[in-house]
Symmetry: D2
Subunit: 286 residues, 4 copies
């Protein structure tokens, strides 16, 4: 929504005295005006996490020199870091199957400027949603997946992701399990929405599992995909109350709203560099 | 809160045409004024559930004749049914260990008239909370449980429950696993609070399990106890949002609030005959 | 979602003994199988409210005879009542302005079968959303409203509502205040979404009012429209948490999600005859 | 809960480049290990807000020298600032009337170490809660308030607050309106709980106002007291869902739970120096 030109600097490193002073001193020396700043010192892992949003127009000296100079600080503090430019929108590749509620929601949020990204293309194992997607002038690729062609299919998806210069792959109810190779190739860059409150109801038909167990709330979970099914670092979760009057089909219906809300929030956090990996967990600077 | 004298009729039976007509016709014939009425026809199990609250002063013919006559209807429809008199407060036996947050909350709600029950006695495997309980003029029994005396200890708990004419046993963070015999003896009459959003994190130290998994919400679950650990019919659940800044100890602290709220709601529903068993699930008429 | 053919009988009347018996006896006599039933005896107004969903295939004797016969019961109990046939979808007329988030959400829920209604047409005081609406093969009417033409404009809206046999008019962020005449003509048939947690922040720019007041939650309210601005009977409300980091523009953005969720739920309750007027309040059988 | 010895530095000042660098550089020079850090740059007021929790054992040079030296930075940046020592517990003076739910909740949280404060004394315009309070070895003062003695009564409350070295005064359902003089004397140091979702239902009997309006959620609001009734800066709010089956008395009952949760959270935020005033609004670093 904010159209101001900004840089977002996100980093993590082993915690010690002086990190904030070093980073903020560096920014102040270049007249960097900090619009937002978040810190987290993790007592469990001993790592420090930081995110700064800097007004681009305030920075003296140019961004290339910034990157070079900051690299030296980063190196001395053993930082993982990245710098995003608000003018270079991140490119999202959506993977869908037949269900369209998450797709429709993300396309609307993209179209209304809410997400601040580009939708590079949509890939599906079915052809059903082509018309809807192409009406938005977004390329649509039908990549069928069968028990026999999985290797080729995932290679094709990987190729399309590269060809369209994807930054993040979003499984918007894709319903297929990606190959471990693909998961491992893009750590922290593939986002899934699972239709349960993980770790409850891993695997297939979670709403029916939830109905059978008689739970009083159902949920959805958005997480980074790893090669272990439904076990990747969680970005966002939410729940909705149900009661004895609701059938398993009602749960599916309520669940759709939770799924799309959770996925769109998780994606937005990711796009704004608010999510940092902390082992099997995430830091989410909201 | 309502001090009006009422009868609550709760029942379930195989679903068919005419049940409501039979029950409401019976009530109308005796001039029974219905203050509250809830129905549920379960499409999954084919059972029908009903709860009626009747103004006692409106009933003509006396309650004994009511019971006798209704027994015939109940029999012809194969009903499970019970009739509660608001003047006969249900008697609650609390089982606690060392943690007192649920105990303190339930004692306050009892004392302020919120729960509408009697606290018959408190039983604990430790002696720590005696002073607090006895200040309220409630009997306190210390029944230690060791690996070697479990049979005797659970027999003593059962004896105390009988001696104090307990209607419902509440495990208010009791931390011991009751014997299967005791669980089976009182189906739908023993209520537990588990400190996780079941079926996630069954067993010990659920908050630490939740912390390790990196979930973004934690919860608590109140359920009827069965001989299968943490698998009984769920009465009530709730969650609270956490974030990366919270340690496992913070989760324990937030969890206490969720636990006491969930347990007190579950108990209140039970005491007001709002909970009916439907196989492994519950119907909760709120 | 349920494709079974049903009739929904909704009624209210002065409370007394025997209403349930009379209605359920009537249904049982005709072999009416009750799928859902809700009751409410209002202690404040002394009125009784009831909703029954009846399996059409179970009913003996035909629906015309049902209506005639039930009219006699209704009359003797002074009932307001209505009977809906699930095969006759209610016809919704949407009024919109330039903002499209509620429109897009309702159109999606309609298209996916979630709402179980027909969208008869869309009327707007602007022409902006024509392309989007017509892509769905729904008629779009541009009825400009200026300070000088209000009488004619509202007459035209009323005419279109009649011509398209509208059952309910939905102001999906319409931003114009309907004339008192129009409001009074369709009591309980015009639904608005107000972008605040009423009765807070009545009138214009509620999110900016909320920002200025420094509230920690913002909300939305769906209500029946009456001639008194933002004072009609409330059907549904919800809130979302905000914090000091959110600008007034962020509130507008979060608010959009709350608005569309609240409006879609309110409309669904209305379409399923779950909402009954109780003076200035509503009974909502969920 | 954390027993580590810490200092909390909270400040606000006009926003400009270099504040974080100056503060964090100052801390790093003294080897100050930052456990928690929060920043907020307010676009609306142009002020910057910051809170740092520093490990006491890491600081070199002593706290007196720290204070003196930091005063110079503070002065050059025109900061409002305060430094809290975790070993000096803040002293809370509770004002209550006859209702005890907030009192009991706060006393429990204090006793269990959750709040990390001292309860200096309890003051009430009634004598009802003396026994309960004195059982906790907390002094109880009965200061009756009548239409005729308000000046003297509020002077006495002020005197007791001073005598018991109160840091913060908490109106835990006190039900009396403090004098403007008292409100103005302790800006940001008197916390009230109002039993509605402000700004709805200002003044008396808010639950009955809410019932009459037919809202679907009720709430509670904790705010700093100013001389304008129910208009002070809001610290925390929350809501709970109600429905048509709830009487005004039910609302009062549900409301008690919301009130105590909101008040205890607001007080905890205040005690941990997480709340900073921003004109008529607050910054709450959670």
């Amino acid at each position: 929504m904010n159209t101001e030109h900004t840089y977002t600097l996100a980093l993590s490193c082993p915690d010690r005295v002086g990190i904030v002073a070093a980073v903020s001193g560096f920014l102040a020396d270049r007249q960097g005006w900090i619009l937002e700043s978040n810190h987290h010192a993790d007592q469990d892992t001993g790592r420090f996490f930081m995110r700064n949003v800097i007004k681009a127009s305030s920075l003296e000296g140019g961004i290339e020199s910034f990157v070079t100079a900051f690299g030296q600080i980063a190196s001395s503090y053993e930082m993982n870091w990245r710098l995003s430019d608000s003018r270079q929108k991140k490119r999202v590749v959506l993977l869908v199957s037949k269900q369209d509620h998450c797709l429709v929601d993300l396309m609307y949020r993209w179209r209304s400027g809410d997400l601040g990204c580009d939708i590079a293309c949509v890939i599906s194992n079915h052809d059903d949603l082509r018309k809807y997607v192409e009406w938005h002038d977004v390329p649509y690729f039908h990549v069928p997946v069968t028990p026999d062609n999985k290797v080729e299919a995932y290679a094709e998806i990987d190729r399309l992701f590269g060809e369209h210069r994807g930054d993040v792959m979003v499984l918007a109810r894709y319903m297929q399990i990606l190959s471990p190779q693909l998961c491992d190739k893009y750590p922290g860059r593939i986002i899934n929405i699972h239709h349960s409150f993980l770790p409850s109801f891993i695997g297939a038909r979670p709403y029916h599992q939830a109905f059978d167990r008689g739970v009083k709330l159902i949920g959805a979970t958005s997480h980074y995909v790893t090669s272990e099914l439904d076990a990747g670092p969680i970005i966002e979760q939410d729940v909705v109350r149900i009661d004895h009057g609701d059938t398993a089909e009602d749960l599916v219906r309520y669940g759709r709203d939770v799924e799309k809300n959770v996925l769109s929030r998780a994606l937005k956090y990711h796009l704004e560099d608010r999510v940092l990996l902390n082992g099997k967990r995430t830091v989410v600077f909201r």
